[in-house]
């Protein structure tokens, strides 16, 4: 993760400075949103499915401790080793210890937002392990030493020219050949050699099934399977909210996931892992890292229903125009803006404000998380906890005072209109007034409605 002290507003201003590229980013993600719309309209019971998924997750959260214990017991019976990690550092150390115990040097990894959240890659690399991300988008950003900008489409901020340059540098592809087919083929050849040579594969987990102790990993590329089935050791890392009670519930979630994410009827590979193959070790690391704290916040706990489809990213008019890196966290977008303040309020105090509260995120969410309402509620918490700049606070107090007292309001309004009419340079100042930087101020009328009403309808 890039260390940054800039906030979302500053980072997005820098992103938007390249307007044609911003337009391209917006349109590319809108295209994904449109594919999603088309796919969900093929399913007449779509809203019912969302309702079921939400209810299954709500139930699961209300019985999570028991389901996790069931899951562990069943996984152990299947010959799978289960580990528990309270935080990112525990998680990383558990993974490293498995590697050290088995003298592993080379690791392939399929997409796992949890490992991004825990910053596993830099930790392993510091400890002398070669880590190769095998999802194409993740490999691209790994070569570029950038974090993913999107949880489903990690390199969506890049154009094919950027990828071509990166591959030319790292994979010696032809300079200037920007054909996605050609570039993907180069990555296929490169990564197949890595799959064959690696000792250990790390995957994420999309769903973990309490009743069987198994877990499901969904990919389109097949990289999780290439890695896991070729390696002698498979480690699957999961946040504890990935639990679902029964196999039959996959029928609900797998109908929702890919349609919401990319508009596909399903991901190409929905792989169900239950037992290691002969001679293989299989490990599962169950991670808390702030999740139990979020579970204890009644207003925010249902953010733990998230299945990481990123539909809220693709529909968000702010995300589409500010890019994933403007959120400066592993999980960006609207869902990230309600998850990250739980992990670090100070560092992420800007994120709940990076929204117009338009509500589109909540509407596309396949598990019906009330994302935009939670953004609003986080704002209240962040102000109450003192994480909002003093200038904003003073302005708000002034505004609250004026609006609470009708007489003050009338005088202030008159002053405001008078000032704007007579001294337009006071407010028409691009430095002092962010509104005026790229927008004209509304023309101040001679009279307020109140004045008109008194004059035409009487009253005082």
């Amino acid at each position: 993760m890039q260390a940054t002290t800039k906030n979302h507003a500053q980072l997005s201003e820098a992103f938007i400075a390249d307007e044609p590229r911003t337009d391209w980013h917006d349109e590319t993600l809108w295209f994904v949103r449109s594919k999603r719309d088309k796919a969900v309209h093929q399913v007449p019971e779509w809203e019912l499915l969302r309702e079921w998924a939400s209810a299954i997750k709500n139930h699961t959260l209300s019985n999570l401790d028991n389901y996790l214990v069931d899951f562990e017991r069943n996984a152990n019976a299947n010959g799978v080793v289960v580990h528990w990690a309270s935080n990112a550092s525990d998680h990383n150390n558990i993974v490293l210890k498995i590697m050290r115990d088995n003298q592993v040097k080379r690791v392939v990894k399929s997409k796992s937002m949890l490992t991004e959240e825990c910053h596993l890659n830099p930790f392993l690399i510091e400890n002398g392990i070669e880590v190769v991300d095998t999802d194409l988008g993740e490999r691209i950003v790994q070569f570029r030493n950038e974090p993913p900008s999107h949880i489903v489409l990690p390199a969506i901020h890049l154009k094919k020219q950027d990828v071509s340059e990166t591959f030319h540098e790292h994979l010696h592809t032809e300079k200037g050949n920007n054909d996605p087919q050609y570039l993907t083929e180069a990555a296929r050849q490169h990564l197949r050699s890595k799959f064959i040579a690696s000792d250990l594969a790390i995957t994420g987990v999309n769903f973990a099934i309490a009743e069987t102790g198994g877990f499901v990993v969904c990919t389109n590329e097949g990289n999780a399977d290439m890695g896991a089935h070729a390696a002698k050791i498979h480690i699957a890392c999961m946040g504890f909210e990935k639990i679902i009670p029964k196999l039959e519930h996959l029928g609900v979630f797998l109908r929702l996931l890919a349609r919401s994410a990319t508009g596909q009827p399903t991901t190409t590979y929905n792989s169900h892992f239950h037992r290691p193959r002969n001679g293989q070790q299989m490990h599962i690391v169950i991670v808390d890292n702030g999740r139990s704290k979020q579970l204890g916040r009644p207003e925010f706990r249902n953010s733990l229903k998230c299945i990481r489809c990123a539909a809220c990213f693709n529909t968000c008019p702010v995300y589409r125009r500010s890019g994933g890196h403007s959120y400066h966290t592993a999980v960006a977008g609207p869902i990230g803006s309600i998850l990250n303040p739980n992990i670090d309020m100070r560092a992420n105090a800007d994120l709940p404000f990076a929204s117009t509260l338009c509500g589109s995120c909540s509407n596309v969410c396949p598990v019906k998380i009330d994302i935009h309402d939670q953004l609003w509620k986080w704002r209240q918490v962040l102000v109450a906890e003192g994480y909002v700049a003093n200038g904003k606070k003073l302005g708000m107090k002034g505004m609250a005072f004026v609006l609470a007292y009708p007489k003050v309001y009338r005088i202030a309004g008159k002053m405001g209109r008078w000032v704007m009419r007579v001294l337009p340079f006071v407010t028409n100042n691009k430095l002092l007034n962010p509104w005026y930087k790229q927008r004209e101020m509304p023309e101040a009328p001679k009279a307020s409605f109140r004045d008109w009403y008194r004059k035409n309808r009487g009253g005082s």
Binding site: A9, I16, E47, V318, V383
Partner: protein, 243 residues
């Protein structure tokens, strides 16, 4: 039927013609309309910025002013939604509750309560409809593109009664304009970019006016249009329906 006219603060100060049109429109429909002179604001600017606790004075003032009417009607979806969701008054909670349940945005009041089926209005222009998020996703003034549900639109229903009006809808029919309350200044760059994109789509459709049920969205779009030197104008739906 006694209707309390709720005129949001920025409409009172900057867009009095929207309030006049709303008042006249309601009166033409036979409502007895009162305008409580000591009203100020719904409290949304503070609450959406995380300062809901500072809006208490505003809330108290609102409840005092709108006590005793059958309905409260205002020409702003966003302010009305805020009242419906967040208006409370510890000393007068019963009155606050009545207001929350009887406050309407103008379009929904005309369609759902007054059940308006025809209007004598005429507006012979090509008009682009901007759907405001709070009116749509909050007050359900129209169906939402994200959901698998039957389509409907209350503003379109009313605009279809206006003689000569040629309605134009953008392809991204319910994309946010980027106003977002204080978002428009604290996230200035994204806010303006969103507004420019909305304006661009309407302009490409060759509209003369952009209309909507939320003056705040229109104020933002108007600011951008004027800066661009565009000939496209903004107009509140109440002004069209009252024309």
């Amino acid at each position: 039927m006694k209707v309390g006219l709720f005129v949001p603060c920025y409409i009172d100060q900057f867009y009095p013609q929207v309030a006049v049109a709303t008042l006249q429109l309601l009166e033409k429909q036979g409502c007895e309309v009162v305008f409580p002179l000591n009203q100020t604001c719904c409290g949304q600017p503070m609450a959406n910025s995380g300062f809901a606790n500072l809006a208490k004075g505003c809330d108290r003032n609102f409840v005092e002013n709108f006590d005793g009417v059958d309905y409260i009607v205002g020409p702003s979806g966003s302010c009305v939604l805020h009242l419906k969701e967040h208006l409370h008054d510890g000393n007068n909670e019963a009155k606050a509750t009545y207001i929350r349940q009887h406050v309407y945005e103008l379009v929904e009041f005309l369609v759902d309560v007054l059940k308006v089926e025809k209007l004598p209005s005429s507006f012979p222009h090509k008009v682009g409809l901007h759907i405001s998020c709070h009116g749509q996703r909050g007050l359900h003034l129209s169906s939402m593109s994200e959901l698998v549900a039957p389509p409907f639109s209350k503003p379109e229903k009313l605009l279809s009664m206006v003689k000569g009006l040629q309605l134009s809808k953008p392809a991204r029919m319910d994309e946010c304009c980027g106003f977002g309350g204080t978002f428009c200044v604290f996230e200035e760059a994204v806010s303006v970019k969103m507004g420019k994109d909305r304006v661009g789509e309407h302009a490409a459709n060759g509209v003369e006016y952009i209309t909507g049920a939320d003056t705040s969205c229109l104020m933002h779009l108007e600011g951008i249009l004027k800066r661009q030197g565009s000939t496209v104008k903004t107009i509140h739906i109440a002004e069209i329906l009252n024309s």
